[in-house]
């Protein structure tokens, strides 16, 4: 840079469009840096601008200057362990900063990545989030305990049942009510089918991001069968507000067994079709194996959970370790990978679809009879017919839908295994009808944080594959 004349105050004449061409050597031997400058005409008297590779002019959300070491380590993804070799010979002038997103079809929502590139190699990554922030934790404080699921179901919009389940389980821990076995089985049925539908969407988008466009159509096709079942049971395809404190909103409709039977035959057939399409496809293997690697140590330090952590070899599934809603009554295996790359994350999810369907099959065969919600009248509104007959029922109905039921004071942390990882709810109650604080430990939030670790020192083309493999849902990240 030192030999480049300052075009504002330097010793050359005031720049014109033609002048630099006359003054400079042939364009082939020009450096990239100089070639960029040739076409810039600065207003006389202004400072020479800082070159974009040093810092972006983005206020606080800038990609920090090269000298800021601790933050730089974060963006380079070397904070836990530095697992790559820096090639010192790379030409400094090949560096540039690229903004990817927030509106990019393969950033899965509105994620923005600031990337510092050295030629084709990614040197630094800074994820910038918040474009979908709607203040749901604040909203949760203004809603009653019973209204809460309506709010939380919209966070991770691809696994709404898990959001509702985590919230309801947390509230029930504070309430200390017994949930009937049928309600628990329905919860497992719906949440495991939700895992299937979410993973199918992952397979669709992962395929499309890598270039297997037909996967996009296939994944959505099988997911549609799941969503049709959700609509039949809850009335809505997404954002169901079906699992509520005290049980579920309604019993399963007549003939639900036939729908689940159909689902259990359609989805495995589709999944084996995908496996045939992808598992030995040389292009797919090239794009995924050894790409976006994260080690178990990095997973633990960065809070990476779920299929992404299991693909790195961490044998950890909350359904096995801290079972909830009676899931320990069903038999299933936890698929674990070992390489921690994009391909292992894909294969872990494919296997999880099979295990979830195995649980669904068992639920179908052992669905207990009985109530679908607790009979505790302080929590569950009375049936409509009772309101006409009983004064107490009318009072309970009125109290639940105006003031809401009260929950004993305390704090509780409840986590469930969502399709993305550990979805936790930290709920603080002060004994009132509304929560004092609801904090959501969103799995995607931690995964976005871990993106620099996976992405740095790979190629630009691998960004999309790596991003898709963590399956982030930006509604979950920003809340």
């Amino acid at each position: 840079m030192s030999d480049t004349p300052n075009l504002v105050t330097g010793d050359l004449e005031a720049p014109t469009i033609e002048a630099p061409h006359d003054a400079s050597p042939p364009i082939e031997s020009d450096s990239a840096d100089r070639r960029r400058r040739v076409h810039d005409v600065w207003v006389a008297g202004t400072e020479e601008p800082e070159w974009v590779r040093q810092a972006t002019d983005e206020g606080a959300q800038e990609l920090l200057p090269d000298a800021d070491e601790p933050a730089l380590a974060t963006q380079r993804g070397v904070v836990v362990s530095d697992d790559y070799v820096v090639d010192d010979d790379v030409d400094e002038e090949e560096r540039q900063i690229i903004n990817m997103g927030p509106q990019h079809p393969s950033t899965h929502g509105v994620l923005r990545l600031q990337l510092e590139l050295e030629g084709e190699t990614i040197r630094r990554v800074k994820p910038i989030i918040g474009y979908l922030h709607t203040g749901m934790e604040k909203t949760a404080e203004t809603l009653t305990w019973l209204q809460g699921p309506t709010n939380v179901t919209r966070m991770d919009y691809l696994s709404p049942f898990h959001n509702e389940l985590a919230y309801s389980l947390a509230v029930e821990q504070l309430l200390d009510v017994d949930i009937p076995p049928r309600a628990q089985a329905i919860r497992i049925l719906m949440s495991e089918l939700n895992r299937v539908s979410s993973h199918l969407l992952f397979l669709a988008t992962q395929g499309m991001d890598i270039g297997a466009v037909s996967m996009m159509i296939y994944g959505w096709r099988e997911r549609e069968v799941c969503l049709a079942f959700f609509e039949k049971v809850t009335g809505l395809r997404m954002n169901h507000n079906y699992i509520r404190p005290g049980g579920v909103a309604a019993d399963l409709p007549d003939g639900w067994e036939d729908d689940v039977e159909e689902l259990l035959s359609v989805v495995p057939a589709g999944v084996s079709e995908y496996e045939e399409l992808l598992n030995e496809n040389p292009i797919f293997l090239d794009r995924t194996q050894g790409v976006g690697v994260i080690t178990p140590e990095e997973c633990k330090a960065l809070g990476v959970t779920g299929p992404t952590a299991r693909a790195s070899g961490i044998d950890w599934d909350l359904r096995k370790v801290f079972p909830y809603s009676g899931i320990d009554a069903y038999e299933f295996d936890v698929p674990v990978g070992k390489h921690g790359d994009v391909f292992d994350r894909y294969i872990v999810r494919v296997k999880e679809v099979g295990q979830s369907l195995r649980i669904v099959r068992q639920v179908l065969e052992t669905m207990p009879a009985g109530d679908y919600r607790t009979e505790d009248r302080k929590v569950t509104p009375p049936p409509r017919k009772r309101i006409d007959e009983s004064m107490e029922a009318l009072i309970h109905h009125f109290k639940i839908f105006t003031e809401g039921f009260k929950v004993s004071p305390g704090e509780v942390y409840q986590a469930v295994e969502s399709p993305r990882g550990e979805l936790g709810m930290y709920v603080v109650s002060t004994g009132g009808a509304r929560p004092w604080r609801v904090h959501v430990r969103a799995p995607s939030f931690a995964h976005v944080q871990a993106l620099p670790v996976m992405m740095t020192d790979s190629l630009v083309a691998d960004i999309v594959a790596t991003l898709a493999s963590t399956d982030p849902v930006l509604g979950d990240v920003d809340r």
Binding site: H133, V304, T305
Partner: protein
């Protein structure tokens, strides 16, 4: 409309909890020996696994987290702020750690004196985003954080929305015909 949640009282946290001077868990007992100022609470809720909670003074907070990591709680799970409006200290930081090997969770609660507390990004890199979130929404500042900027809200946002004295806001309802009705 119904009233807002009741103000928390200082002994809410202790409801139904068992205070043990020395926890019977060997790892926690070791931590208790090394940090006499830390108070441990354990209780088993009706549903769900046992919960172990450590009330840690802000002075030894990063050291305690480092010791907890070294004694097996090596997975970082969560960090969040809580605003207990009229309690002193007002803000609390809640950290969730996990031991995969022992299948045990440890919840660390730290009262924040004023609005500054030490950062644990040197211990767990994963705390970085969570501390930025707590700074963004509560205005709790973490000394030693490498890049403490707003994360969810725009940089020019004024105020800290999850504080209890920050209003949710409202849209005025306009009754346009009201003046004509006589």
């Amino acid at each position: 409309m119904t009233d807002q949640p009741a103000e928390p009282t200082p002994d809410d946290a202790a409801a139904e909890a068992v205070h043990l001077p020395v926890p019977d868990d060997p790892i926690l007992a070791g931590l208790a020996g090394a940090f006499p100022s830390v108070e441990f609470v354990s209780f088993s809720p009706a549903a769900g696994p046992q919960q172990d909670i450590a009330h840690v003074p802000a002075a030894v907070y990063p050291e305690f987290v480092a010791a907890a990591r070294d004694s097996g709680f090596d997975a970082f799970v969560d960090l969040c702020g809580v605003d207990y409006l009229r309690r002193d200290p007002r803000f609390e930081i809640v950290v969730n750690l996990l031991s995969h090997e022992r299948r045990q969770r440890l919840r660390i609660r730290v009262g924040v004196p004023g609005d500054v507390v030490a950062s644990i990004t040197q211990v767990f890199e994963g705390a970085s985003f969570y501390e930025r979130e707590a700074y963004d929404l509560f205005g709790i500042r973490f000394s030693g954080h490498p890049d403490l900027t707003r994360i969810l809200l725009p940089d020019e946002w004024e105020g800290y929305p999850l504080r209890k004295d920050y209003s949710v806001g409202s849209v005025p309802v306009q009754f346009k015909e009201a003046h004509q009705a006589t």
